[in-house]
Subunit: 218 residues, 2 copies
């Protein structure tokens, strides 16, 4: 009598497969929204189905358990993150300063647009169910390795060993994680300050990395 204007969002038209996909999406979205201010470990199956507007048992047609759902959300969230990395890679101006400026801006944009995905990763990375945690850790490791490969193309192999590149990309990825966390936590008004701070820090960091190398070997 209040929200019955449109039957909330029960799968209405389309083929059977489409309808199934639609409620699957609804479940993913509901779960993502519901665990936004707590964690997956505190998310109940019935909360999710209540939000979606289906009966609890229908959940099992799509996922084996909340943990299983969590793994799907990891997949999805890292798709967002990889989209971001694709954007970061499109560099035209090769100066370090510009690369940093651009990267941080891209990060800001994506964290803003895909807020729930990034906040999901930041949270469940340390507090999710074990399987979810390790899935995220694995994905981050992959990103780190990709970054190391990128850096290998940009640096002199005489100065940078594979191991050194791993250490550096770990440092950069960690900075990104922390910066994203800060952006998620802070209120919208403080975003500019965070961007500026991240920029400065990345600059310190890269200058230091380059210096440190040439000092170490020169």
């Amino acid at each position: 009598m209040e929200r019955a204007v449109t039957p909330p969002s029960p799968a209405e038209g389309g083929s059977r497969g489409e309808r199934k996909e639609r409620t699957r999406r609804a479940i993913l979205d509901a779960a993502l929204a519901l665990c936004q201010d707590s964690s997956m470990v505190a998310l109940s199956l019935r909360q999710v189905t209540r939000e979606v507007g289906i009966v609890p048992t229908a959940f099992y047609r799509h996922f084996d358990s909340i943990e299983d759902l969590g793994l799907a959300l990891v997949e999805e969230s890292f798709a967002s993150l990889r989209e971001m990395l694709r954007d970061v890679r499109q560099v035209d101006d090769p100066s370090y300063r510009k690369i940093i400026d651009r990267s941080v801006q891209v990060l800001r944009q994506h964290v803003q647009n895909q807020h729930d995905h990034f906040s999901f990763i930041a949270r469940e990375r340390v507090a999710g169910p074990p399987a979810v945690r390790s899935a995220i850790r694995h994905q981050i490791e992959l990103v780190e390795r990709e970054l190391a490969a990128d850096l290998a193309r940009l640096t002199d192999p005489a100065y940078w060993s594979t191991e050194d590149l791993r250490v550096l990309s770990n440092l950069i990825v960690n900075s990104m994680v922390i910066t994203a966390e800060a952006m998620i936590t802070a209120r919208p008004g403080a975003q500019d300050a965070i961007v500026e701070q991240a920029r400065t820090q990345l600059r310190m960091l890269l200058v230091g990395a380059l210096r440190w190398r040439s000092e170490g070997l020169g």
Copy 2:
């Protein structure tokens, strides 16, 4: 008939105040242990009291709610952390390299000895109940400010503004947080590698910060 050798740990002797304090401790310890592999948000009052060996209602004699208990744990955990910082500050050899080496070693020791406290902070910082999260954020901010004050004493005020020091100490504290997280997550065998990596990264970072400053103004 199995664990009734010693009545698990019901407050036995001592004055009323002592007994109360003892069960309070037992509650804190039980909560800290129980949320170790999930989060406070998934911790139930009854779990805690069951673990302690008291009846659920007795909980309210000590804390208003789980969240209230969480705030006490934040207090306690940061007491551990400040103890660590006190150790870090006792530097005899003032070379940057030695300061870093020593700091990372101290971090390693404390993370190992006070594992549960550090892992509590790392987790609840992003996934705890709102009040707990903001309490932790506040505490970390205090630590950052203290570090900035320390750095102010070690650096040339002509080159380092208050704001710059804040940015730098934020960077250092974040590195510590991430490193502690890595130590907590990794299995004991991998600790040496993490220590080595953190050392390298901190060195990069500090060299860069110093360089960047003098470049920016010199």
